[in-house]
Subunit: 358 residues, 2 copies
């Protein structure tokens, strides 16, 4: 498992792809500094059911035969279990480790470096919102860049936008692309769009090579979510390379921490991004049951130029323009776009952190 930084600017270039996207781990975290070791084994005596065994450093052992345990680093003291039916794939590239298993009620589930990456049951909520929140907020997007997102789901969603002429994707790990094409054809269908140009390579290096002002929108579906644990994406050098690659008034979309994560202060993250993005900077969120706390956040930022009002989409989706997708959006619509920016009072910072019961 690759865990080291290799970038001199503090950006973990090889860590990449959605590996830490949701800050989850296959390890059962009992205390902050004592994590369980996980053994994954096939239990051939049990009708091809999968057994995940875990025992922690304290000698307390926990066994969950037939269930996958998802523990998010940012959410100690809780875990989610998914009943497993069969492991479909287990492999390692030079960058990361990928599991795919059939669950009993969430369809196929992909685990990347121990983090739940997506489930077939609810992936569309994340993919649609991460894509259409930015693209429906600007007029006539033509050139779009995706960093990470090798599964193809974001490509599938970009494909719905008929104004788009060029869809570039930079994904570091070819294994991810190939495994999704084999096991998740309804997600990897995004690669069938003829506007897609796939580049296998490091997203951070790619960003530096982009001529200034190239893209209308950049979607970063990689690295960690924005928030206190996300050093790479929050890194000023990386964000500066994004701003540089955007046309004036171009937009960035990226996953962000859940508003329920106790160390996450939305106002601080907005302030951080506002140092780089001189347009507007906003936090949105939506429901995704498989992610810790049942939701995921998004950062929406625009560069200096024509103003972008992310809360009021001006470029609505044509519900009959599917692109390579097999039907209209299942989650996104203009009303839920605007609603995604409404925050609970505690998340607005009306409460000092010490007063929050989080």
């Amino acid at each position: 498992m690759e865990k080291e930084n290799n970038g001199s600017n503090g950006v973990a270039a090889t860590r990449t792809v959605a590996a830490d996207k949701y800050c989850a781990t296959m390890r059962l975290q009992k205390h902050e500094h004592v994590e369980d070791e996980v053994v994954v084994s096939h239990n051939n005596n049990n009708n091809e059911r999968t057994t995940f065994l875990s025992s922690n450093g304290n000698g307390v052992s926990t066994a969950f035969p037939g269930w996958y345990v998802d523990v998010a680093k940012a959410y100690p003291g809780q875990a989610q279990l998914y009943e497993t039916e069969k492991i479909l794939f287990h492999g390692k590239s030079k960058y990361q480790e990928l599991f795919v298993f059939q669950s009993s009620t969430y369809g196929k589930i992909a685990i990347l470096n121990g983090s739940l990456q997506l489930t077939e049951r609810d992936e569309f909520a994340y993919q649609e919102m991460l894509t259409h929140l930015p693209l429906c907020s600007i007029p006539n997007p033509k050139k779009v860049l995706l960093i990470g997102g090798g599964d193809g789901g974001i490509l599938r969603e970009i494909s719905r936008h008929s104004s788009v002429e060029q869809i570039d994707i930079c994904e570091i790990d070819e294994m991810v692309v190939n495994v999704y094409k084999k096991y998740f054809p309804d997600i990897a269908v995004g690669y069938k769009d003829p506007r897609v140009n796939l580049q296998i390579g490091d997203g951070v290096a790619f960003m530096k090579s982009v001529p200034k002002g190239t893209y209308d929108a950049i979607i970063v579906d990689a690295f960690q979510s924005m928030g206190p644990q996300a050093e790479e994406l929050s890194d000023i050098c990386f964000l500066e390379s994004v701003v540089r690659a955007l046309r004036p008034g171009g937009v960035l979309s990226s996953p962000a921490e859940s508003l329920w994560f106790k160390n996450f202060v939305i106002a601080d993250t907005i302030a951080h991004c506002s140092k780089i993005f001189k347009g507007s900077v906003n936090y949105a969120w939506t429901t995704v049951p498989a992610y810790a706390s049942g939701l995921i956040g998004f950062m929406l930022c625009s560069s200096e130029g024509p103003p972008v009002d992310f809360k009021h989409p001006i470029n609505p989706l044509n519900p009959e323009s599917y692109g390579v997708a097999k039907g209209p959006p299942k989650f996104y619509n203009s009303e839920i776009h605007t609603a995604a920016f409404c925050l609970p009072s505690f998340a607005k910072g009306l409460f000092a952190p010490n007063n929050q019961p989080l």
Copy 2:
């Protein structure tokens, strides 16, 4: 554990209180018809840590020492785990069984008849929305009835409304009231409001005894959530008694199923309620991490009379009027009130159930 109906009208009168509110169970449900038996024991060898043991009818045993397993009946194939630190209370009344334990990161957690009722960390999201969605939608509410809700959290929220002159609560189980007063003082604080009249008794019988047109608002924080599994609350006789007890244009608020629950069709539930409520009938939802799928729904209905537009609150909370609460609302505000009614496309019924990946 009381599980029988005793009402001739099909309403399970004694099942009551929020016991099945979130349709969860302490039993590990492996298949629809094979549920695990649960043993709850104190593990005295382990620093007062609690041990919940579970083994299912198939002979597959699962052990979660130090963790509480929450399995929602409506969500087979998944479960949530909470690290337990200490059992604080375990008791049975003639109606139900109540556990209270200290968790490591969610504060105290209450389990009623095997269903996770609330956690200190996120209870306010549910209590505030269930209360203020109805009360902020009508002008000048004066008389409010709460059925169930013995914990006191809804009372705490009603208390913020200075127009209210009378707060009646009918709770069947005095044990619930007493345990919450002892272990959850910041929730049971609602009982300190001098406008509160507590009646220990059966809510269904109480509803029948209410003179016609008595209340401006009725909040039902009991029985099952509205949805396909909720026979009691969906029961036409019960809903008719609610309508009868409301003034013209009065409002009902009740928990409803999560929009992610695959057997829940919002349009069907709205159609069902519309048979009884001749005003407006709406579904709303909000994030509550501890509930299955990370969210809970609400049904908001008004009786025939002055129209109620639930989506656009006309009676905003005074953020400085706390009532008996210790501070302003942590979750509710007018923006999130309106946003709560915005639905993902699949939940709007734009997809036929067979096309939904749920």
